[in-house]
Symmetry: C2
Subunit: 578 residues, 2 copies
């Protein structure tokens, strides 16, 4: 019996720390177990912090959230018996009385900034790094109270580290202690890429504010730091715009399917406190039919819905006119007003899927072409330059979809960030143009693919971007594939995207999670070269997913629970490795 117990303890001790997702850059771990003291507390330390109490509001919110997770997660280990066999070990384990947060005094930034402020910096100025040290009895020779330490240069780094800490804590079955295995643990961590986003389309389907807040929570658990908010499109215009309130008044699906000024402020501030910035997108000049509900005068090929296949990829038809001073002024004021609502230094003007046939039958645009002896791309370039100029004056760097760089002859500023969506095969071409890149290729990152065609055709046609992007497919993405080493620095990061022609609040959680978390690890955790090992990753992703469900996000199952409780038992092929 004792031999059996020792054997099971050894098995326990030899197991890796499975809970961490995304994987930290450096991880050392021991063989001990520690349990959280009943009076476990998270405390702040360091002169910089204490002298800047005014900036600690959202950090303290993060501490409070972490406390709640520690109490409410109630995640039992994903092993047969759910950790019941740990009980005697945990009962005898030393107690961890607290976690100390330490903000390093940096000579570069003597002023402490809030999490929100750090999250809204330029990517190159952000610092999300942290170190986390959790002791065990054996490393604490003096026998004093055991304390863990989380250190970072910024409040943003502390917020990231708190997420990591919360992922290490399990609960014994039927209540009982919260505990951490494989102590001592030493983690040094920082993201591989600066832009790690989830994109949500709130035009094809509208989502209640609570859905967006819950999504932001889930993003924070995966250390995603950008909500790319594709707020508007041809189908509906839910977003309140201060300069043009009539847009959502007439362009939303209904008066209840809108985001008011206070909704937007709340979403922005909630995101900021999680260390998430919002990359707002107002997609122009295409994808704007819904503007026509209040401003038909700015819209070309409006209402050509009986022949929509000719004028748009999806109904309804309508694009902002080109070569029209009034439309130009409107578009510039529109992006300015929209971007003013956000604190991010980046703003997306979209620019995908512009339809030439739409302009060819628009009198305003064709007159401008004739009068100015200009090409469509020249008019388009003037349009985009004007809009981007206005954004730059407002302190914003522009983000665009890939066609702006590859398919249109447009003068883009060098610092314009290009999001590659059509295919990962186009990454190199964008890099060769010198732009910074966000990976969003449909062949890896489109969460909506694989649900069948949605236009009312007879028969069961496939999605245009079939098949479904499994988490393994997403996980296999190499951000540097096809790039020269000199171009690596152009990769800002990437995102998982949810277009919502066939999605809505009903399946938001299950279609997005945990797949978007797979993308999160691709862009947080530096790959040691070569393909990532999905076999190694699966038990960790199960862990993330079960914890997310316990936290109220309906992330879908990846395997039967039988497999989730038996790491690698449902593997094939690579099984010999374990």
């Amino acid at each position: 019996m004792k031999i059996y117990l020792i054997a099971s303890v050894l098995v326990l001790l030899l197991e890796p720390v499975k809970g961490l997702w995304p994987a930290p850059q450096e991880l050392e771990r021991g063989k001990d177990v520690i349990r959280l003291a009943e009076e476990f507390d998270i405390t702040l330390k360091g002169s910089a912090l204490l002298e800047n109490a005014a900036y600690l509001g959202d950090l303290m919110d993060g501490v409070k959230r972490t406390h709640e997770y520690l109490i409410n997660d109630n995640l039992q280990r994903l092993v047969v018996g759910r950790g019941e066999s740990d009980r005697s070990l945990v009962n005898a384990a030393p107690e961890l009385v607290g976690l100390n947060l330490v903000l390093a005094d940096s000579e570069w930034s003597p002023i402490v900034l809030s999490v929100t402020e750090e999250a809204h910096k330029l990517y190159e100025d952000q610092d999300e790094s942290y170190t986390l040290n959790i002791p065990s009895n054996s490393t604490s020779a003096n026998g004093g109270a055991l304390l863990a330490t989380l250190s970072a240069n910024t409040t943003l780094g502390l917020i990231r580290g708190l997420q990591t800490f919360s992922q290490l804590v399990y609960t014994l079955p039927s209540g009982g202690y919260r505990y951490i295995i494989n102590t001592p643990i030493s983690i040094r961590d920082a993201p591989a890429f600066s832009h790690r986003a989830f994109m949500l389309d709130t035009s094809r389907a509208w989502f209640p504010v609570d859905d967006i807040l819950r999504t932001l929570d889930a993003m924070s658990w995966a250390k995603l730091n950008v909500l790319h908010w594709h707020a508007t499109d041809s189908q509906s215009w839910p977003l309140f715009i201060p300069a043009f309130p009539e847009l959502s008044q007439h362009g939303a699906y209904s008066s209840s399917q809108t985001y008011s000024r206070s909704d937007i402020t709340f979403i922005r501030e909630y995101a900021g406190s999680l260390g998430i910035t919002i990359l707002l997108e107002i997609d122009i000049p295409g994808h704007t039919a819904s503007i026509g509900e209040s401003h038909p005068e700015y819209i070309a090929c409006r209402g050509k819905d009986d022949k929509w296949e000719r004028f748009a990829v999806e109904p309804p038809t309508g694009q902002l006119k080109l070569g029209d001073p009034a439309t130009q002024a409107f578009a510039e004021e529109l992006v300015k007003s929209a971007s003013d609502m956000m604190s991010s230094p980046y703003f997306s003007t979209g620019g995908d899927e512009i339809n030439d046939a739409c302009y060819e039958q628009d009198l305003t645009t064709t007159s401008a072409l004739l009068n100015g002896n200009a090409t469509l791309d020249e008019l388009l370039s003037t349009f985009v330059e004007g809009v981007h100029h206005r954004l730059r004056a407002a302190g914003k760097t522009s983000v665009v979809w890939e066609e702006m760089a590859l398919n249109r002859n447009i003068k883009l500023a060098n610092d314009t960030i290009v999001t590659v969506w059509i295919s990962s095969a186009n990454v190199r071409a964008v890099a060769d143009k010198g732009h910074r890149i966000i990976h969003a290729a449909s062949d890896y990152f489109y969460l909506d693919c694989g649900a069948g065609g949605w236009v009312g055709k007879r028969g069961g046609s496939n999605s245009w971007c079939d098949p479904f992007k499994s988490w393994q497919k997403i996980y296999s993405f190499d951000p540097f594939a096809s790039l020269d080493e000199l171009q690596h620095s152009q990769v800002l990061g990437g995102e998982a995207l949810l277009w919502t022609e066939q999605a809505g609040p009903e399946n938001l959680d299950s279609i997005a999670w945990p797949r978007a978390a797979a993308a999160a690890e691709v862009f947080w955790s530096r790959s040691s070269g070569g393909a990532r090992n999905a076999t190694e990753a699966l038990p960790r992703l199960h862990d993330w997913r079960y914890r997310a469900v316990n936290r109220g996000v309906g992330a879908v199952r990846l395997q039967p629970e039988w497999c989730a409780l038996r790491p690698h038992a449902c593997d094939v092929e690579e099984k010999e490795e374990h």
Copy 2:
């Protein structure tokens, strides 16, 4: 302004009755509008009903449910403006003061049976037909109170008709009247097929009882009449079995992930009151590894999980031994005890994916092969015959998966019902064997396909049954394809199936609905020959889905709301037809 109003009224009047799903067999409709009186009531009429009050309990539950739907559905018409333009018409419309339920006095069944009792009859003895007549002012010359009438031969027919009635009622925006368009309406309806099922696998993933009850509700809205409950499998055994309580005690994922005796009774009675019977499946002799948790002595190739690919399609490995008197006795008692809990005259013993290699290394089975000089199929046949004999003695007709009829040399009674799952291409072969058929082919009806491979392989492999079965694909199914006309009567019906390797409570609603409703119409509504018209069907399916969401089932969106509010505006190709 008046001309405009008349034009919009005409458009309204010319629209078909979109709400009905599945489509009734015969439908006549007029051009008027009627609104429900504030005191609208559903009342019973007819001597047979009144003399059998004891049998009216579940019918009265159905009446109460219908009342609640009428009050709470709050479904506004799926048109631009959501029916606001109907307001003046509705304000001026005559009032419908009630719906009379009439149970025809039948010389064949002078005794009134409850909905539950009717639902548990043999398929050939069931009668779900009904007629529904909704008047309009123009058909009520006497100017008296307007009453609708729902008539049926059985309480089961009345329950089906109540669902139809509830689907006809819309609510004006911002509150206001409930109303019915295109009155007068005359419907004669009956199902094309007797078995219209949703299959749920509660072994790979466990579902709380509430999830199953909600699923039964959604089934009733689509007039599905059978819950095929794949209750147990190798991964877990959640089902309490009176004769063997140890099975769920040790074989469930956990003590909380079980269905107790009272759970099972509650589910059965809840289903019965909705006119739904439960086809319980205990899948044997394969798919039984979880029995080994309490009875390892009955299980061949138990725990060969490190080489599971050789011994099972999925881990864990384990099948009931063959040629072993103790195992045989256990299996017979098992199905008897399980079937006793259900009122359906049908019971499924499964029988799919039996693995020969598993038996070849089992000492008990190989000894029986040697000692009896028998083949594996002979042992299997003896096993199945014994089990089916025991079920027959208990008054149950057996249902099996297709391999029992096609791939194994087994003596099946002629009345054994065969469920075709591997491929619709196998339907003809089963029919040629003379068995009755349930359509469940993976190439049409597997709701789980298209989520990627779930074994822990590297890379993003596809599902074995890719692609995702879109509602249009399901809807295109022809139940008589490949069959001779003489074989048509062998088709009992069909089902939509949810296997749960990658599903759970998190996505139950969105993965099942409204696609399972598409299958429901295939098997309820007689096709007038040739392929069904998905273009015609789409607006009706939108209607079903929006109503389901309002009733609390998270059915997924089929298209952007822009399309849902503009019937046929998002069509391609067939658009010229409209």
